[in-house]
């Protein structure tokens, strides 16, 4: 509680030094089993970048969905330019000039990039027929502004997650917004792409657009934002001017403890070779996405694979995990050549992939948190006749505790978890297969600093037990 008391003494929290574009007052949002927001006040200063930060499950996305008209607050009200507004729908919010880039990609995979960008706002001069070429041209311009030459005719289902994020941003830019909410827009972007985005944000700011910016990358926050609001467990903890604070301050407010307690790399004994890959090749039409790659991993090693997006990292992982039957090459585990195998064989042998795109590849959205977590390791709880509840519950409880997954009850549906907590469930699913080689493709996407350090700590602990991890961080 002492931290909350501190807040009141921060001098810069008095509203009014800049005109408010929007203010959320005493917002409470209750979900079955959880109070996601508890009497939260939030200010959006006009023409500024307002950062909203907090641990996974702190309530950031929920607050933003309320501001964007997606969710209704249980109690509390929204004020726009000093007047109370009632939002009935996202469309209504859009009419008032509030745009949002959702944390979870919200694109239609069966439509093209251009169609997605103009979905619901098609360019149709006659009012009936959509002017496809005008949409394409406009889409190309928007993408060009983001310095990204994605073909507007491509289907969204063919895009990698980083590209999808670019399209999401382009979609938001195509609207005439006064307030732009960006819920973790950079989680799947490379450093260079983040730079471009920041340029665009500066540009928007110059045109008087107010931006709400959510990110777990604290260096980004301190660089781009003008104001910082911190939530913890659904409560407002602090609001401050960015120039008056630093990263340790943010972490302390977020976590409620000293940042020094976070993970520091220890030393692991690196022993004999466990994995050797030779001449791994994945052909595509007119070339290779993975072109005769060879590498070796030792026990206890945590290897980072670097490369630009689309450099074939994810594909290499997929080949190793048995997702791509068309791949050629040799994989030796513990010195033994592995037969070409499917995913379940590879999992049985101890190679498991934690995929990059959690919505498309990581989670089954219709089932519970527990069932998602257990899906890849079901045979561990199977006694020949049925799945033993006790074993299942122990495994789930261990992971919930180990990764601090914020969940009221593991039997609740996975989609009721915050984005970062969903990501932790995907990681937990991989860990529960007790792998020898853990292939983590962007494991920390959308995960807060504390949890990130937990995951690194777990990786190191596993490495000490003789597991090799291989991860592909973006920047």
């Amino acid at each position: 509680m002492e931290t909350v008391a501190e807040v009141a003494t921060i001098p810069s929290t008095q509203p009014g030094d800049h005109a408010l574009a929007l203010r959320a007052e005493q917002i409470t949002k209750v979900f079955p089993g959880t109070i996601a927001l508890d009497r939260v006040d939030f200010n959006v200063y006009r023409g500024k970048v307002n950062a909203l930060i907090g641990e996974n499950g702190a309530g950031k996305s929920t607050l933003m969905k309320i501001v964007a008209g997606v969710e209704r607050p249980t109690t509390g009200r929204l004020l726009m330019d000093g007047k109370t507004i009632q939002l009935h729908s996202p469309l209504h919010a859009e009419k008032l000039g509030i745009g949002i880039i959702y944390q979870e990609m919200n694109l239609c995979p069966n439509l093209s990039v251009a169609e997605n960008i103009f979905l619901g706002r098609e360019i149709a001069p006659s009012g009936l027929v959509v002017d496809k070429s005008a949409q394409r041209t406009r889409a190309r311009e928007l993408l060009h502004r983001l310095e990204h030459e994605i073909d507007p005719n491509l289907l969204v289902s063919d895009l990698r997650i980083g590209q999808q994020q670019i399209v999401e941003i382009a979609k938001a830019l195509s609207q005439d917004v006064r307030i732009l909410i960006m819920d973790e827009p950079t989680s799947a972007l490379s450093a260079a792409e983040v730079e471009v985005l920041f340029k665009v944000m500066e540009d928007l700011k110059a045109h008087g657009v107010s931006i709400v910016y959510i990110s777990h990358k604290l260096e980004e926050i301190t660089r781009i934002s003008d104001y910082v609001t911190v939530l913890r467990d659904g409560k407002l903890v602090a609001e401050a001017r960015t120039q008056e604070i630093d990263v340790p301050w943010i972490i302390e407010k977020m976590v409620g403890k000293n940042p020094a307690a976070l993970f520091q790399k220890g030393h692991t004994e690196v022993c004999e070779e466990i994995l050797r890959v030779e001449e791994m090749t994945l052909p595509i039409v007119g070339g290779y996405t993975v072109d005769h790659v060879s590498l070796a991993l030792r026990k206890g090693e945590v290897v980072g694979l670097y490369g630009l997006m689309g450099a074939g990292r994810s594909e290499l992982f997929e080949c190793l995990a048995g997702v791509r039957p068309e791949a050629t090459g040799r994989v030796y585990l513990d010195g033994k050549l592995l037969p070409a195998g499917n995913v379940s064989e590879r999992i049985n042998r101890g190679i498991v992939l934690v995929p990059e795109d959690r919505q498309r590849e990581g989670l089954v959205q219709t089932i519970s948190v527990a069932h998602n977590m257990l899906l890849a390791s079901l045979r561990n709880y199977f006694n020949g006749l049925y799945l033993t509840r006790r074993k299942e519950q122990t495994a789930v409880a261990e992971m919930v505790k180990g990764l601090s997954i914020k969940v009221a009850n593991p039997t609740q549906i996975i989609t009721s978890l915050s984005g970062g907590n969903q990501q932790k469930v995907v990681v937990a699913k991989g860990l529960l297969t007790s792998p020898k080689i853990l292939l983590l493709d962007e494991p920390s996407r959308g995960i807060d600093v504390a949890a990130k350090s937990e995951i690194f700590a777990i990786m190191e602990r596993l490495a000490e037990q003789g597991l090799a991890c291989s991860l592909s961080p973006r920047s």
């Binding site: 499950g57 467990d233 409560k235 409620g256 992939l353 590849e361 089954v364 899906l375 006749l385």
Partner: protein, 356 residues
């Protein structure tokens, strides 16, 4: 510290509340059933007689058994339109084996299999036809709707071809051939008719498989997100193949029950049964897009359809109106279901706010 807020609200009361809520949610399909039963009890005085209940339960068993197989299929996000035709085909196969036996021209003999073997052969036939559905869907990437629509015609045609469109009458067998006893399946009873026991047995096993086995979990996973299931090591093709085999298996059992009840095998047996089975599954709250639903719901759904059909006959509603009413009830029940679910969440939230 202030950390406890968003975590479980007062652990004990929170979890008991979600438990109550889950029971309520599961019982949702009951509303339609209770309504239908209440209405007919008032209109038709002998509606709830023990004898009448058993007759209705026999009819329900048919839809329920088909619905169980259909539930697995729909949970994976598929559909099986061929079950009605497979019912007819399996009935015809059983009828042929009893009345004509197996003719082996090269030896110039006719073999009459034992009744148990006949039933076994019919069941294998139905399961194999299900496997054909599954193979077409998984190997050739044909949409389940199309593949099983094709099978609907093919199996019905085969049923007609077996005896040139004629019925196999009087399936009692002959004592000297050792193939008697087939009608016992439909007529015999242990307290209640065998078919009701079969329904109960199937329902219990299916519910157990769906909830407590790796296979069941994988079925749900495939329906919810096939790609994610695959990346978690689920052998998607194998599981899909299995669900269509289960559906074919259930259809063959129904075919045997009906042929045995009628002591005859008619090639048109089971026409439109697929629609009743799908209706039962949907009424039971299973999502047609897959990944969500339960066997228990399907059983209740089958009761709604069965009770409604029999009740309307009992009170003497014309068969034309029966169809209209049936259609309206199916759609209404799903609407009520939706409204109720929304109300329940709201009540849950109000309760919680009072607590918090």
């Amino acid at each position: 510290m202030s950390q406890a807020t968003a975590a479980p609200i007062k652990k004990s009361s929170g979890s008991t509340w979600t438990e109550i809520q889950q029971i309520l949610l599961r019982g949702r399909a009951f509303i339609a059933l209770i309504l239908v039963v209440a209405v007919f009890t008032v209109i038709a005085p002998n509606f709830l007689d023990a004898a009448n209940i058993e007759i209705m339960a026999k009819h329900v068993a048919i839809n329920a058994i088909l619905g169980i197989g259909m539930t697995f299929v729909i949970l994976t996000g598929g559909i099986d339109l061929s079950v009605g035709s497979l019912v007819g085909l399996c009935a015809m196969i059983a009828g042929m084996l009893i009345n004509q036996g197996i003719i082996l021209p090269q030896f110039g003999v006719i073999v009459y299999p034992h009744t148990w073997l006949i039933m076994f052969i019919a069941i294998i036939a139905g399961t194999l036809m299900g496997a054909v559905n599954g193979l077409i869907i998984t190997r050739f990437n044909v949409a389940p709707f199309i593949a099983t629509l094709g099978m609907l015609y093919v199996a019905r045609g085969m049923a007609l071809l077996i005896n040139n469109g004629y019925t196999f009458p009087n399936l009692v067998g002959r004592p000297e051939l050792g193939n008697t006893g087939f009608p016992e399946l439909g007529a015999g009873s242990f307290i209640v008719n065998y078919s009701i026991w079969i329904m109960i047995g199937f329902a219990l096993v299916a519910a157990f498989v769906a909830q407590r086995t790796p296979f069941g979990r994988r079925v749900y996973a495939i329906g919810g997100n096939e790609r994610a299931a695959e990346l978690s090591g689920v052998k998607v093709k194998r599981v899909k193949l299995s669900v269509y085999m289960i559906s074919g298996f259930c259809a063959s059992v129904v075919g045997l029950i009906i042929a045995s009840q009628l002591v005859a095998a008619h090639p048109a047996t089971g026409q439109f049964f697929e629609l009743n089975a799908i209706a039962a599954v949907v009424l039971g709250g299973t999502s047609l897009s897959g990944g969500r639903g339960s066997i228990g719901g399907t059983i209740i759904g089958a009761f709604v359809i069965g009770v409604l059909g029999d009740g309307l006959v009992m009170v003497g509603v014309s068969s034309f109106w029966q169809q209209v009413i049936k259609g309206v009830v199916i759609v209404l029940a799903v609407i009520i279901d939706q409204v109720q679910a929304r109300m329940q969440t709201r009540i849950a939230l109000q309760k919680q706010q009072e607590l918090g």
